[in-house]
Symmetry: C2
Subunit: 221 residues, 2 copies
């Protein structure tokens, strides 16, 4: 029996965030994909609900520890399994504080418009539903302001958290992946900003992220 | 010149969260209150904006380090200044992971309905605006579900993060303070749940929190 288990909706950004962190740290784990559409009949659905008091469909088990919330899972993994001096981990509180700021910036600034745009431009299209252009226009304006700040930050720092790849970058990967897809109309917002574009290219081509995409595609197809 | 400075809107929950963390750790700092109403003319407003790329009105400076986001500030303070073995800090990754889960639970589950209820029942009343009863009813329903989970958790654990007071509890204080005010109509939701009620009483009476309330009242009055 695997010591570590991850339960999650396959293509959700939360699941992909947790998978990316597990792969980055080269940890062995069992992934138990949940199917939202088959929710009622899904045999994996009951055990997860019993572990997840708020009905969130992402649970990580590490031995007898059960964790909820994708950013908590990501933080926990890099804290417990990060190798000091290597990528992903800063040991000095100052550097950790800067990286932590960008994790919360993703959570509170980037994620709200990015998730709404992903819903409108990716999820709805996939499900044959019409896109709400008013929502797209509003959220695009917000995303533009945010990406201008990112462009400035990334012109002074290779990664958001500092000179090395950390959870502050990793936490952006799922929405970056969806929003920079070839047919997605907001892709140009990332492409037009040279430092943002270079950052996207660098972090989206990390072997751990490619493994996440392959894992998700294998199950979804 | 103070080594540590906190800039923030006096009575905002983000400012109160950061103040609580600073007082809990008995740190010396200078508090520079910002007045949202006097935004345009306020002489403190320009320097803060130059530090705060997203226009957030909370900035913490510790020497040459500038941090944004109240939960990042709170985490940083307890990480850098927490005394091992004392309250506030767990050194074992497992215990830290549990406490971290409840910080994100506050952020993603508790805060959205609690903040909307605070807007409707506290802010609007204070500003002589009518309350939107539809919003109140909807958000109350969400809060009830969340408080049921909290009641269960707190019947097995003295604090949310474990057997000691941590940032997982502290992060709830600002909204708990506003929503359990004597004239606030959702107060009974907290009072009806004995473990939630006892937890509220315990954490709202901590000396550091009382100091936050006094600090805010002194400036607002």
């Amino acid at each position: 029996m695997a010591v570590r288990k991850l339960y999650g909706i396959v293509s959700s950004t939360d699941t992909m965030r947790a998978l990316a962190s597990l792969f980055e740290h080269e940890l062995e784990f069992e992934f138990i994909p949940l199917d939202l559409k088959a929710k009622a009949s899904h045999h994996n659905y009951d055990p997860i609900l019993s572990l997840s008091p708020f009905g969130q469909l992402l649970v990580f088990q590490d031995g007898d520890l059960t964790l909820l919330e994708s950013r908590t899972i990501m933080r926990f993994i890099s804290h417990k399994y990060g190798k000091p001096g290597k990528e992903q981990v800063y040991l000095v509180p100052k550097q950790q504080g800067i990286a932590a700021t960008w994790i919360d910036v993703e959570d509170h600034q980037f994620d709200p418009p990015a998730s709404k745009l992903r819903d409108e431009l990716v999820e709805k299209t996939r499900n044959g539903l019409p896109t709400d252009e008013t929502v797209v226009a509003e959220e695009e304006d917000k995303l533009i302001e945010i990406l201008d700040v990112y462009e400035e930050r990334l012109s002074n720092s290779k990664y958001l958290g500092g000179d090395r790849f950390t959870s502050a970058d990793l936490t952006h990967l799922p929405n970056l992946y969806y929003l920079t897809g070839a047919s997605v109309t907001v892709k140009h917002l990332f492409d037009e900003r040279p430092h943002v574009r270079a950052w996207c290219t660098t972090i989206l081509s990390r072997p751990a992220w490619i493994k996440v995409v392959e894992t998700v595609q294998k199950i979804v197809d």
